[in-house]
């Protein structure tokens, strides 16, 4: 290992010293090859071994990082700073290593974080330009992310995995899923306030909307809105969104404990009634009809979601439902991750905005959790069956993680109190709620 590093260093020094003397000559040479590139074979000039070696060494990654090419453009064809071409890339590659560690050793949403992180690693390779318009990451991005296709397919798969039974048997818990969307809109105000009162940040309303949707804790929705309203922030928004979804078991419990009393946490909920098959079959069409009437802008998301759910509940297309839940969602997850990773290029990620996105995303998420819990407490002020406020936090739509957290915290105070199925109601309502919130954003800005 040590000798390898020494060799690399020697090569670097060698190429640097040659660079100064040869810069002028090669510049002229490149110009001529560019003009006559169609007749490459005819214009190929014999080179001495020395020239060939120098030419090769100049195409190495080490050389590209040591002395960035002044004419190199980023994926959008805009000039970028020397830092983003050189050490910024090294730093980003180290950040992707950190994401690998979090995904593998800590188990933070590895299904998405690993493809995203590896895509980020590939996007930061100098010379090869993998995330550029003709690199394969760029092609994946154009094929399915720029046109918002992949998040929609993921939504179909999630729909096919979702069981609306718990929501149907206790419909009023849907309100908790609505309250949690306060995280989204509260953070929108926070983000515009931040850009109004500080010189450092300057988010447009569209960008603020794209950032705040992280509070919905819904990965595909975040990606869908980010590509529509602020594609330049996609990388940071997707990473923040999936990181916080992975951190649900760490972020939520302290907020839940702080806002509830001991007695409230021990509230036992009425056993859920049986839901007939017909109800489950009618529900997706019913919600879609409602969306068509009220907010057609939300129908790409709700339509895809309900399509997947309808296939599952119909019971006659087992094969299609199975494909949506497994094969298709897995394939698309790979491409979605890599495509998002292409936005982790240094010139787009290593900006001060990323820091603000991480902080605002966390705020959005925490406010959403708190709003859900508070909503449950408000509902308990009215007569009727009581709701355990711990399931309020499941209103953020991280399915089924948030519901599991509600169950776990509930069990800490009363071993016999099973909240999991009760929490699934607000959880799936949260998915619908954040799709509606996304629809509102699209209707305002789209």
């Amino acid at each position: 290992m040590k000798s390898f590093v020494l060799k690399l260093f020697a090569v670097m020094l060698f190429s640097l010293s040659l660079h100064a003397s040869d810069a002028h000559a090669t510049g002229a040479h490149e110009a001529t090859t560019e003009v006559k590139s169609t007749h490459k074979e005819e214009t190929y000039q014999p080179q001495t071994l020395g020239e060939m070696t120098v030419g090769f060494l100049k195409s190495t990654g080490v050389y590209a990082i040591m002395s960035p090419d002044p004419d190199e453009m980023n994926a959008h064809g805009q000039p970028m700073s020397d830092f983003h071409k050189s050490w910024g890339r090294v730093l980003m590659i180290l950040i992707t290593f950190l994401l690998f560690y979090l995904a593998i050793a800590k188990g933070y949403e590895p299904l998405l974080l690993l493809p995203i992180a590896f895509g980020g690693l590939l996007a930061n390779i100098p010379v090869a330009n993998i995330a550029g318009a003709h690199g394969f990451l760029g092609v994946i991005y154009q094929a399915g992310l720029a046109n918002e296709m992949f998040p929609i397919i993921i939504f179909m798969g999630v729909g096919a995995m979702t069981d609306f039974g718990p929501l149907l048997s206790n419909p009023k818990t849907a309100l908790l899923g609505g309250a949690a969307q306060f995280g989204i809109f509260g953070t929108l105000v926070g983000a515009v306030a931040l850009s109004q009162y500080t010189e450092m940040f300057d988010f447009t309303l569209q960008q603020a909307a794209a950032i705040s949707i992280i509070g919905g804790a819904d990965g595909p929705t975040s990606i869908f809105i980010a590509t529509k309203l602020a594609p330049e922030l996609l990388g940071a928004i997707a990473v923040a969104s999936y990181s916080y979804m992975a951190l649900v078991p760490i972020i939520q419990p302290p907020i839940m404990r702080a806002l509830t009393t001991d007695d409230e946490r021990k509230i036992k909920m009425v056993t859920l009634r049986h839901v007939s098959r017909l109800e489950k079959l009618v529900f997706p069409v019913m919600v879609l009809t409602l969306a068509i009437m009220v907010l057609p802008d939300s129908t790409p998301l709700i339509g895809a979601f309900m399509f997947g759910n309808f296939l599952k509940e119909s019971g006659v297309v087992e094969r299609l439902s199975d494909t949506l839940q497994n094969a298709l969602i897995n394939i698309v997850t790979i491409f979605l991750g890599l495509g998002v990773g292409s936005k982790l290029a240094a010139d787009q990620f290593l900006v001060i905005d990323t820091l603000a996105i991480l902080v605002l995303g966390l705020t959005a998420f925490s406010v959403g959790t708190a709003a859900g819990v508070i909503m449950a407490k408000i509902m308990n002020m009215f007569p009727g069956t009581k709701v355990n406020p711990l399931i309020g936090s499941a209103g953020v739509s991280a399915v089924p993680m948030a519901a599991r957290v509600s169950n776990k915290v509930g069990m800490e105070y009363d071993r016999s109190n099973m909240l999991l199925m009760h929490a699934m109601g607000p959880n799936v309502a949260g998915v619908i709620g954040s799709a509606v919130a996304a629809g509102v954003m699209i209707s305002i800005f789209g």
Partner: protein, 79 residues
């Protein structure tokens, strides 16, 4: 005149939360109506009354057979 973005943000918040809640409240009402209708007119055969399913009738015989098999197996493996 400069646009006050915070005010704009607050308006979006009001509109957005209003829409989300309205959507969900209408959804809850529709869910309740729907399940009433479904239960009234299309009751599922097995939740109307607890008719014993055909499998349950055979249970006693099956249990007897399984028990006999286990006892037999134990005797065989012991010996």
């Amino acid at each position: 005149m400069e646009v006050n973005y915070i005010y704009e943000g607050l308006k979006i918040m009001l509109l957005g939360m209003g829409t989300v809640f309205m959507f969900l409240i209408v959804m809850i009402v529709m869910m309740n109506i729907m399940s009433t209708v479904v239960h009234r007119f299309f009751p599922e055969p097995n939740d109307a009354e607890n008719t014993p399913s055909p499998i349950q009738g055979n249970n006693a015989k099956k249990i007897a057979a399984i028990t006999a098999a286990i006892i037999h197996h134990r005797q065989v493996t012991k010996g």
